[in-house]
């Protein structure tokens, strides 16, 4: 009924004592700003990680095999290929993925590189129709490993942009380098993927997995990479892979199948939980802010006892007085909330820029601290709610004042 007047009065009295208003709203401002910063950074982090997963392939499934030690129960790459052929509706690609136990030295003439990632893969690692490997690399020149290369342990390799630039000034195709002492011919060049620095995603070599196993002096492939046909099929693909492995090992202790989709979900759940915890901590400041508002409203009710008496003598009922003070408290906290949102967005931008600066050196994905519309709306709603909740007690005190006593008050 008299909302607009109460609102205008509240704004007016806040304006006339700005310092007091600011101090009153400080708790709310800090609390809301903290919530905005936390959710912005959390959202940014989550988005960045999801982007990285997408880049890596959200359809990726890693299969780690420890094996049983007994010769009779082993999984051969052929078993995995057969599985992929049997379930084309779920599995779109599979390749061994042999990591080096010890990073081999890459040498060309007198140049030495010791941080290069070397992987042994099969021809199935690369999908020519999409010009993409399972882990997302593309070819710019030459070709990928072929069936014959893999079958005959050919000393050929595909190299990343960093090595191509550093060792061959961009003209590496057909040239030779040595990996762990053995000469290899470069048959393909990969497109630049990261920032082409040492140790980055561009400092990479792919060679036939058999050759990699020899470098490792091991006999069996312990890691396979699968791709599912799409993100939704990844659970089904994981299922058929697990069934196949269980058939061989008769126990689930000798292998582990992890899908990116699953890991992404797990990571997102973890991030969400962490954010809830942090926001809950920040919310304590909102509580303190609410108490600050209650305190100042109690002071205000005392200061304005006479006004309350006048209003009552003119016919103001309890609920009129109560709503006037509640609107005032709500307005105060709402303005505090808006200021807090503004401050939070600014601080999130600054923090985002800082994190971006720290990460550009390590060549991570794009990081942006974006406050979600929903978190801004919730922050605003919560601050108004706090004002109303903590304004209720003082407002009720005002509403219950005896008009005669209130009128006589000086």
């Amino acid at each position: 009924m008299n909302f607009s007047q109460s609102f205008r009065l509240a704004v007016k009295s806040l304006m006339t004592s700005k310092m007091r208003a600011l101090l009153t709203m400080l708790g709310i401002i800090i609390g809301v700003a903290a919530v905005i910063v936390i959710t912005s950074l959390g959202n940014g982090m989550q988005k960045m990680m999801n982007d990285q997963f997408d880049q890596l392939g959200a359809n990726l499934i890693q299969v780690q095999i420890w094996g049983r030690g007994e010769g009779s129960r082993t999984i051969e790459p052929e078993d995995m290929y057969a599985l992929a052929e049997k379930y084309p509706q779920y599995i779109s690609g599979v390749s061994p993925y042999v990591n080096m136990y010890q990073t081999p030295t890459i040498r060309k003439g007198t140049d030495e590189y010791k941080r290069t990632s070397v992987y042994g893969v099969s021809e199935a690692f690369y999908d020519a129709s999409r010009n993409q490997t399972i882990t997302g690399e593309s070819l710019v020149q030459g070709r990928f490993l072929s069936y014959v290369d893999v079958e005959r342990y050919q000393n050929v390799c595909v190299i990343g942009d960093y090595l191509n630039q550093e060792l061959f000034q961009g003209g590496g195709l057909g040239k030779t380098l040595t990996i762990g002492g053995t000469p290899y011919q470069v048959i393909g060049l990969l497109e630049q993927k990261a920032d082409s620095t040492e140790g980055s995603g561009d400092d990479v070599i792919f060679l036939p997995y058999g050759n990699a196993l020899r470098l490792n002096a091991s006999a069996t492939v312990s890691l396979y990479l699968f791709t599912s046909t799409n993100k939704d099929a990844s659970a089904a693909a994981k299922g058929v892979i697990e069934n196949r492995l269980f058939k061989t090992f008769q126990s689930s202790d000798y292998y582990m199948v992890m899908s990116s989709a699953e890991m992404m979900d797990a990571m997102n759940t973890m991030m969400d939980t962490m954010m809830v915890v942090l926001v809950a901590i920040a919310a304590i400041s909102l509580l303190v802010g609410g108490i600050g508002i209650m305190n100042i409203m109690l002071v205000s009710v005392t200061e304005r006892t006479r006004e309350i008496g006048i209003r009552k003598s003119l016919g103001g009922k309890r609920r009129d007085i109560r709503s006037q003070f509640i609107i005032e408290a709500g307005t105060t906290s709402a303005i505090g909330g808006v200021l807090g949102i503004g401050l939070g967005v600014l601080m999130a931008q600054a923090a985002g820029a800082l994190v971006r600066g720290l990460m550009s050196s390590s060549g991570g994905g794009e990081f942006n601290a974006i406050p979600g519309v929903d978190s801004v709306a919730i922050a605003f709603g919560v601050s108004v709610a706090i004002g109303i909740a903590f304004g209720y007690l003082p407002a009720n005190k005002a509403a219950k004042l005896n008009p005669i006593d209130a009128l006589r008050y000086d």
Binding site: R306, G315, K317, R319
Partner: protein, 247 residues
């Protein structure tokens, strides 16, 4: 026809520790529509207590009070607020304007609580201000007006809701005598135009401007009659009659 105000055997007893103070001690007062009554008496005689009960700000300890035929002596807080809003217009000694609201907003207050829509509210408040000769001042804050002007704003506020009774408690107490006379003249004019006015004062020279005087002493009515009867001005133990003679 029923009386507008009818106090029947009203007691107001305050308990101070062991002693009971009879602020009103069996008071019977009736006021009809169109009357101009002054309630007078010495300090502590019970005037303010009577005014609070007539003004529905308080309820009697015992006895009944009918306002416009309705028993208001047993009403609760909010019911009394509604009666005050609809039937009573207050004029206080200290004006009691809200300092942060401008003149128009102050005058609009009773209409606001009555739920009058904003357009009509403004219209009625402006015409009440015009009645007290304060047109053009409606945007001022109370602090920007003289005492007399502030009291006229409070009269406009009392009039705005078209109440049945205008209750004035020492309305000239804070004003110089000239301005005080203006305010009194204004109350007389309102009464001449048909409004019912109840004036509370300890000052005989003001009381004689009313048509009828009710004199209280120790919570009892000791005179109730024509304001021009010399008997009305006899204050037991005081010589105030002579002062009045000088007016």
């Amino acid at each position: 026809m029923e009386h507008l105000i009818e106090l029947k055997d009203v007691y107001k007893i305050y308990h101070m520790g062991d002693t009971a103070v009879h602020a009103l001690d069996g008071v019977n007062i009736t006021v009809d529509r169109g009357e101009f009554v002054a309630i007078v008496g010495q300090s502590g005689s019970g005037k303010s207590t009577a005014m609070n009960i007539i003004g529905c700000l308080d309820v009697p300890t015992s006895g009944s009070y009918h306002l416009g035929g309705v028993d208001v002596s047993t009403m609760d807080d909010d019911q009394q607020a509604e009666i005050r809003n609809k039937m009573l217009g207050f004029i206080f000694q200290q004006y009691n304007l809200i300092p942060k609201l401008n003149v128009l907003e102050n005058v609009e207050l009773p209409l606001l609580y009555a739920g009058v829509p904003s357009g009509e509210r403004r219209q009625r408040a402006l015409s009440a201000l015009e009645r007290v000769g304060l047109q053009g001042k409606h945007k001022n804050l109370p602090s920007q007006l003289s005492g007399g002007q502030q009291q006229r704003v409070s009269i406009a506020r009392a009039l705005a809701g078209s109440p049945s009774v205008i209750l004035a408690d020492e309305p000239t107490g804070a004003l110089d005598s000239r301005t005080g006379r203006e305010v009194l003249a204004f109350l007389q004019k309102l009464n001449a135009e048909g409004d019912t006015v109840v004036l509370i004062t300890h000052d005989n020279s003001i009381a004689v401007k009313a048509k009828r005087i009710v004199r209280l002493q120790d919570g009892r009515v000791i005179y109730d009659g024509d304001a021009h009867d010399p008997q009305a001005l006899v204050q037991p133990g005081e010589e105030e009659t002579q002062e009045v003679g000088q007016l």
